[in-house]
Amino acid sequence: MNMDSTVKPPQPGRLLQALQPAIVKLYRIAGMAALGAILIGLILFLTGTIFWYFNRTWVRPVILSPEHAKVMSATNALSEAKMQQDAMVVEKATAEAQLKTIDKKIEIYAKEETELGPQAAAKPNDTTLRVSYDRAVEEHADAELQRPVVEQHVKQLEANLVEQEKKVGRLAASPYIRANEEKRVVGFVPYQNLSNIHPGVTLYTCDWGLIKCHSVGKVLSILEGEVQDVHPHDDSVQRGVMVEVDLTDPDAATENVMFAGSKPFWWL
């Protein structure tokens, strides 16, 4: 430590000295640009946060593939329903056959009863005849008793089969099942947005943030079954349902989000 001499500030070289004004000017321009970008970013972020907090019309497009969980689930459900339907057909056929057998028995034993009745009355000591007649009466009564039960069962099976056929038809018509054969697009709608979604409502997607929006199709139907997806802005998990959509612009399926009913900023 030299206590006597003073410490002189370092002198920049001549080149640096010559460049100083340009460097400072560049720094100022860069600073302005950076701060401007931060300011714009901040405004956009705040605007976006407020917009998404209040928006209740967003729909997330989902492209279905055979591997999609909902498609696989629907395929399994259809297979199961068809198996049930087949089992019901077999059961109905069995019941109908059983009914025919009963009818045949009724016919036979009714005839026997009619024929043997007078004979048994005429020969009261003929034990064989008496036993045959009693058996015919008993079998006839028994068959008469069984018939309405089996008949009711057949009717029930017919009704169930009609319902099952409808169920199979409904499942087979699902876009999830159709996704096994061709690319299908559905839309996720959280429960809080559901009041704004109905069949026929127009869908929009936007470019340039949320500025340039155009119609891309419409909602066809609201599908059953709860699903979960993430919010397009904050990635929070949302509960909701899928809607079947008909897109006039296929590219809209790859967008992050669609809006239902109107453009998000309808005046633009």
């Binding site: 003073t6 410490v7 920049p12 100083q20 460097i23 400072v24 972020f45």
Partner: protein
């Protein structure tokens, strides 16, 4: 992958700073015991107290009276007020005190507005005392403060000794109460590591004693401070301290020498103060990159960690907010603020109620601090050449009070400095010319 690595770096820096401040610093302090804050009563040099003044109004009388009541031998203590062309009656107020000081107080007037540092330099050049004590014109100094500072010059290598700055307007509102706790941590914990190695990197200009010959030696640096031809007029107390360390001297401090300053009472004032401190921090950390690594490795690691965190923490905050984790981040800050508030309460439980504040006064820091870091740091980074926020609305420089900033350890040092750019009292504000 990259984002994960970034988060890891920030967390590592936070951990280093936390350990340095609150574990290593405290441990070294306990280990050193009575040797931690060594004193000597054999050294009794001549002392010149220098007070640069600009538009301080009646407040200057209180400052000067507190200095005239110092317990230091009167024949060895002179007081010099440098009026930097005040436009109010500050000069007359100072002269009034000078007339009843028995010749111990001298008031000199600059012929033109020179700024704080040059005003001090002028007084230093004219003084013949061995030790110069720099005091801000808006503080009140405890009667024993000068003596306590001088007692810490236990070695010729010690070139500067800083005092402790306390908040004068403690109970004025929630903002001042919050700053009370912040200042308490700044002086009680945050400088411990640097203090342990006698390499305190920021001594507040509110109350610091310097060896005059060192100030003379470094004067050209202070007078001609500039970057790329742009004069830098903020954070000069911090700059001076670092230059002293760079020149190979030791810097230390004491909590026994106390001055009290008014802290900002309004958020805009507080934010403008923080903006100046951020500029000062960035400039000083950047300036220190070339030589701090030559100091003790622990001090160097601490220094670089603070710089790294200062730059990276705003990015982490922005990422957190954009990722929608604002509330969880806020909760973390609230928890830290609560723990620090309660620790403050426990440690100050034996102090008079008038000297302390409610521990929950510190809670607003949980939101104020992230806002400052997220907004002020980038603004400061890109306006380092700004001169529009200067002290006292003229070409002076900022003063240092807080010294080392933010108590919550997830943050880095703030810096220093009482906000003299806008005197906090309404009367003083009213006297400010439109800058």
């Amino acid at each position: 992958m990259l984002i994960g690595f970034f988060g890891l770096i920030v967390k590592a820096l936070m951990m280093i700073i936390f350990i340095n401040r609150y574990i290593a610093g405290v441990a070294v302090r306990l280990w050193r015991g009575s040797k931690w804050d060594e004193t000597t009563d054999d050294y009794e040099p001549t002392v010149a107290v220098v007070i640069p003044m600009f538009n301080e109004g009646k407040g200057i009388a209180e400052t000067l009276d507190s200095l005239l009541q110092q317990s230091y031998p009167k024949h060895k203590l002179t007081i010099t007020v440098v009026d930097d062309m005040s436009t109010d009656d500050s000069y007359e107020q100072a002269m009034r005190v000078a007339r009843r000081s028995g010749g111990r107080l001298r008031v000199i007037k600059n012929t033109r507005n020179m700024g704080k540092r040059r005003s001090i330099n002028r007084a230093v050049r004219e003084a013949d005392a061995e030790i110069i004590v720099s005091v801000d014109s808006d503080v009140v100094v405890d009667a024993d403060a000068v003596r306590q500072l001088i007692r810490r010059f236990v070695s010729p290598d010690i070139a500067a000794v800083g005092g402790r700055v306390d908040v004068r307007n403690k109970g004025e509102n929630w903002l001042t109460r919050m700053q009370v706790v912040k200042y308490w941590y700044s002086y009680g914990f945050m400088k411990n590591l640097e203090w342990a190695f006698r390499r305190v990197m920021c001594l507040s200009g509110c109350l610091t004693a310097y060896r005059r010959d060192v100030l003379i030696k470094l004067e050209p640096l202070l007078e001609n401070r500039e970057i790329l031809g742009v004069p830098i007029r903020y954070g000069e107390d911090r700059y001076l301290t670092r230059q002293i360390v760079k020149a190979g001297y030791y810097t230390t401090m004491t909590l026994d020498a106390v001055c009290r300053t008014n802290v900002p009472t309004r958020l805009p004032d507080y934010f403008s103060q923080q903006l100046r401190w951020r500029r000062s921090n960035i400039m000083d950390y950047a300036g220190g990159m070339s030589h701090v690594w030559r100091l003790n490795p622990i001090v160097a690691i601490h220094f670089f960690s603070l710089f790294g965190l200062l730059l990276l923490y705003p990015v982490l905050l922005a990422r957190t907010i954009v990722a929608g984790r604002f509330w969880s981040t806020l909760v973390v800050h609230v928890v830290f603020a609560a723990v620090f508030g309660l620790w403050y309460r426990w440690k100050t439980r034996k102090q008079p109620a008038s000297e302390t504040v409610n521990p929950f006064s510190f809670m607003p820091i949980a939101i104020v601090l992230p806002v400052i870091y997220a907004l002020m740091t980038p603004v400061a980074m890109f306006t380092l050449d700004s001169s529009s926020w200067e002290t006292r609305g003229h070409a002076g420089n900022d003063a240092d009070a807080d010294g080392d900033g933010d108590a919550i350890p997830v943050e880095e040092d703030s810096d220093d400095g009482a906000d003299l750019s806008r005197p906090q009292t309404a009367a003083a504000r009213a006297q400010l010319p439109a800058a």
